[in-house]
């Protein structure tokens, strides 16, 4: 699904990723943890092609294609999805319009016909219920006046509608109460399948109680310093990151 080899990248003149390598197979869930400033969010932004994130060297293959050859929107249409840590508001643009345009763009790329407004509306309404959002949210502006939890659930709604191949969840658990966290996790779990992979970026082990990862990676100083299974996350929760740094890895 995704092969990252020796990735170096900088943001605002500062080198953040220092030779990161990671392989993600189809159907796998990888959790990435690590201290503040270790490059966790940078990874998602570099992979999706956000402006201001400069790749210095290394290469990334996404479903066999050279990721850096693709524009931001082409990567998205190929099935790369980023659930934002801080979803931005777009006043006046209805969620429905935005979602339909996104889904149409993806379907067109896949050579599928556009969904009729009627079919799309039906699908969107059903999906809002899966993430415990009132269908009335579809008529509101994108994230306009949504609470923190509603914004995150809206991200999961988008993910469900777009059916991406690789989903990056960037601290989706931050600022969520336990109920919202469960809704988000249930949404992700329902999406898990043999041909869809996830990168779950988080600070806390708590989320991983609900979304059980196949692998847990610790990112420090811009590269992966340790890889384990879900037990590693528990150890980190108990001991913090300091011991890893002391071991000098």
């Amino acid at each position: 699904m995704l092969e990252i080899r020796e990735l170096f990248a900088k943001v605002e003149g500062k080198q953040i990723l220092n030779g990161l390598s990671l392989n993600i197979g189809p159907g796998e869930v990888h959790a990435i943890m690590g201290p503040n400033g270790s490059g966790k969010s940078t990874l998602g932004n570099v992979l999706t092609g956000r402006e201001g994130y400069e790749v210095l060297s290394g290469d990334v293959k996404f479903k066999g294609k050279d990721l850096f050859e693709l524009d931001v929107e082409e990567r998205a249409r190929e099935g790369l999805f980023l659930a934002f840590q801080y979803p931005v508001e777009i006043p006046g643009v209805s969620n429905m319009e935005f979602l339909k345009a996104s889904v149409d763009a993806r379907r067109k790329h896949l050579g599928l016909p556009e969904l009729s407004s009627f079919d799309f509306m039906k699908l969107a309404r059903e999906t809002t219920q899966k993430v415990n959002l009132d269908p009335a949210f579809l008529k509101r502006g994108v994230n306009e006046g949504f609470s923190g939890g509603e914004k995150k659930r809206n991200e999961i709604l988008q993910m469900m509608l777009l059916e991406p191949s690789l989903c990056i969840l960037d601290e989706t658990d931050s600022g969520l109460d336990i109920d919202a966290l469960q809704v988000v996790a249930a949404g992700v779990n329902a999406m898990r399948s043999a041909d869809r992979s996830f990168i779950v970026v988080t600070h806390y082990q708590r989320l991983l109680d609900y979304i059980v990862p196949d692998y847990v990676h610790v990112l420090a100083g811009g590269k992966i310093v340790r890889t384990g299974d879900k037990e590693l996350a528990k150890e980190l929760e108990a001991r913090g990151y300091g011991w890893l740094e002391q071991e000098g890895v």
Binding site: D71, E73, A76, F84, I90, G92, V93, A105, V142
Partner: protein, 478 residues
């Protein structure tokens, strides 16, 4: 100069009114003889000529206003030709093959049907497609309702008592420099009269007055809604209009008598000049309505064209309980400049006004909102709500807001909200990460920003206005 004019006038009289019109174009220049010539061409009665001359004499004493936040080279009013006869069929493009391909590309993007493209581009088609029958049924239907909808030149001859009573009653000849100029030399425009208690059976649109498409640079419109009547009037079209005239100075007067309602919607998309800021129309327009008791006047405008726009559709809320509304989207790109807004003059008791103005600036353009809310001492219980929002795209454009509030009645409630925002990189990135390309993303964000105004437009107009923004914003990102 005047000799030339005189000889033209003489020739005109010798040849008779109709035949001469085909070939005559006045040489550049403006004096009383020019005014007389225009009036004669239109076969106007003496009172109309006198009215024009009064305006002309006033104009000579006036100076061009310079307070607007726009910059353009000084206009030499003597270098303009003030009368150009309708183009004869042989001077017009024979087919769309002879029309600027860039213009046609824009029509195509807007989804304008071929026969409409021909009309817009001024292609010589004898009987203009099958809309002749459309126009005929349209006229019959209006006639049954007693609605008068005709060129103003025709109204001057056919309905002199209405024209004499109301022309200049809202925008007097001496109102301002451009209004005075228009009053002296106006070429043509629309006249509408809705009788008492009649709800106009359809939206009136200049599009149906195909014979008047080429009204030239000094258009004059007068709409009278008699007591208890309703009318919705659509002006302009969403495709860029082919026009060689650099200066446009139009006047629109609305009269809403007791309990009447007038809704006036404009989509202005005159040629904005090229990407380097060369060429383009100077659009200096005076639009104003008077609302009598319980009447309502609503202006909705989408302004995306012209190199320079200077336009303030206004409402004089004269009668008690009258309502004035102004909903505006002004978009400027490249080197365009717009100084636009409204005036709400509250005179009657319990008068209400709403202003929603959205300015969008892209490229190196500048847009300004300029608005006046005046509450007279007599306007007890008046209310105003103003909201002006500016949206910037890129970092080389400008947005300015000049609100003026004059309140002379302590019972008035006046609210003003203003915001300035940018299309943020974060918004763009969200859209692109969901698979939308940057241009689609910007147009979606801008359409969202304009939503409150678009919902005031008649349905098909709103859809076209959205598409128009998309086309006007092309090249503003990336």
């Amino acid at each position: 100069m005047s000799e030339q004019v005189e000889s033209l006038i003489r020739k005109e009289y010798a040849a008779g009114f109709h035949s001469a019109i085909e070939s005559d174009t006045l040489p550049p220049g403006l004096n009383e003889d020019t005014v007389r010539f225009i009036s004669a061409q239109k076969q106007e009665p003496q009172w109309m000529l006198d009215w024009r001359l009064k305006a002309f004499r006033a104009w000579k004493e006036m100076t061009e206003p310079t307070w607007a936040h726009v910059h353009y080279p000084q206009i030499d009013f003597q270098s303009i030709s003030y009368y150009s006869a309708p183009k004869s069929m042989k001077d017009r493009p024979k087919s769309l093959d002879e029309v600027d391909p860039e213009l046609l590309a824009t029509y195509a993007k807007l989804g304008i049907p071929l026969h409409e493209q021909e009309a817009l581009a001024g292609v010589a088609v004898d009987a203009v497609f099958d809309s002749v029958s459309v126009v005929t049924t349209f006229r019959e239907k209006l006639h049954e309702a007693g609605v008068i909808f005709c060129p103003i030149s025709e109204a001057v001859r056919e309905y002199p008592e209405l024209v004499q009573k109301y022309l200049g009653s809202v925008v007097p000849q001496k109102d301002n420099f451009y209004a005075a100029l228009n009053s002296a030399v106006f070429s043509d425009g629309s006249f509408v009269y809705i009788p008492k208690g009649v709800r106009c059976p359809m939206e009136l649109s200049t599009y149906f007055r195909i014979n008047e498409l080429n009204t030239g640079q000094f258009e004059r419109t007068l709409i009278i809604a008699d007591e208890g009547s309703h009318v919705s009037y659509l002006e302009g079209c969403t495709a860029p209009m082919r026009d060689e005239n650099q200066l446009h100075a139009a006047v629109v007067e609305l009269v809403a008598l007791d309990d009447a309602q007038i809704k006036y919607s404009t989509v202005q998309n005159w040629y904005p000049g090229d990407k380097e800021g060369k060429g383009g129309i100077y659009n200096f327009v005076t639009k104003r309505g008077v609302a009598h008791k319980n009447a309502r006047i609503s202006w909705t405008q989408v302004e995306t064209g012209s190199a320079v726009t200077w336009k303030y559709p206004s409402c004089v809320l004269k009668g008690d309980n009258s309502v004035g509304e102004f909903y505006s989207v002004a978009l400027t790109n490249n080197f365009q400049q717009a100084d636009t807004g409204t005036k709400m003059i509250h005179i009657g008791k319990n008068t209400r006004s709403t202003i929603v103005a959205k300015g969008i600036s892209a490229g190196r353009s500048n847009s300004a909102y300029r608005g006046l809310v005046r509450i007279n001492p007599s306007a007890t219980g008046a209310r105003n709500y103003t909201q002006c929002d500016s949206l910037l795209i890129g970092d080389r454009c400008g947005a300015h807001t000049f609100p003026y509030i004059e309140n002379k009645n302590s019972t008035a409630v006046i609210e003003h909200e203003a915001t300035t925002s940018k299309v943020s990189d974060d918004q763009l990135f969200l859209c692109q990460q969901r698979g939308l390309d940057a241009e689609k993303a910007v147009s979606m964000i801008v359409n969202g920003f304009c939503r409150e105004v678009f919902k005031e437009l008649p349905m098909e107009f709103a859809v076209e206005a959205g598409k128009l923004l998309e086309v006007s914003l092309e090249g503003s990102v990336g």
